[in-house]
Symmetry: C2
């Protein structure tokens, strides 16, 4: 493929949780005590086989409201730390705003996965679920 | 956004390394002793500010040759383990084949980052670089 060929990705689900806006979210999963529910769209439910309560999974989310045009940010909005290149941060603002969360599985029912450690807000599209290494 | 709205992502770079095909690659970064070079496209170079030699970064890659139509696989091709849902594996085959690698920075020069721990093959598109938590 050419270097600059756009790539199409399609959400495989979304999250339901009490966090309503980007401002409500913990800075990352290690600082979260929030629970929520991953809804896997029915056409992908078969790919959930083998997921187990108690395991930690890796979820990739698409931060659909994040700015994609910034290359430097003040980490956590703290201007005392100076501008940093976004590739040396975990800022949600980045050219491809894909977030990585490590979530503990509290329950599984059909296509719904109850999880702990949520750091994205309600309705955020889910792109992938992986085993944690 | 509607649940099924396709999302456009654009590579921010690519990897150069000696691994030439998917068959050559280590199963994941924890099993790799391969080095390679991340080329960040010049329009994103400013976002590299603050990256440091010796740190471990998180790289997201687009596995452009991976099949996207499978929901179950034999992990590592081992049929004795039975078919597993791809969300409980690290298989490259998944609806959105985005790989997570943790890479140690060996050197930085301009828009090039020499790294250790490579588990993707030469030319694989790079989607993002993050600080490791």
């Amino acid at each position: 493929m050419a270097n600059d060929t756009p790539i199409n990705i399609t959400p495989i689900g979304l999250i339901h949780c009490q966090l309503q806006t980007a401002g409500d979210t913990p800075k990352n999963f290690t600082e979260s005590e929030q629970t929520g529910t991953l809804e896997v769209f029915p056409e992908y439910q078969e790919a959930m086989a083998g997921l187990k309560v108690g395991q930690t999974l890796v979820a990739l989310f698409w931060l659909h409201e994040a700015r994609r045009d910034l290359l430097k940010v003040y980490p956590r909005g703290d201007k005392s730390r100076g501008l940093q290149g976004i590739f040396s941060t975990r800022s949600p603002m980045r050219p491809n705003p894909i977030a990585i969360s490590e979530l503990k599985v509290l329950g599984i029912e059909g296509n719904m996965i109850e999880v702990f450690g949520v750091d994205v807000f309600d309705g955020t599209p889910l792109l992938d679920i992986k085993k944690k290494i």
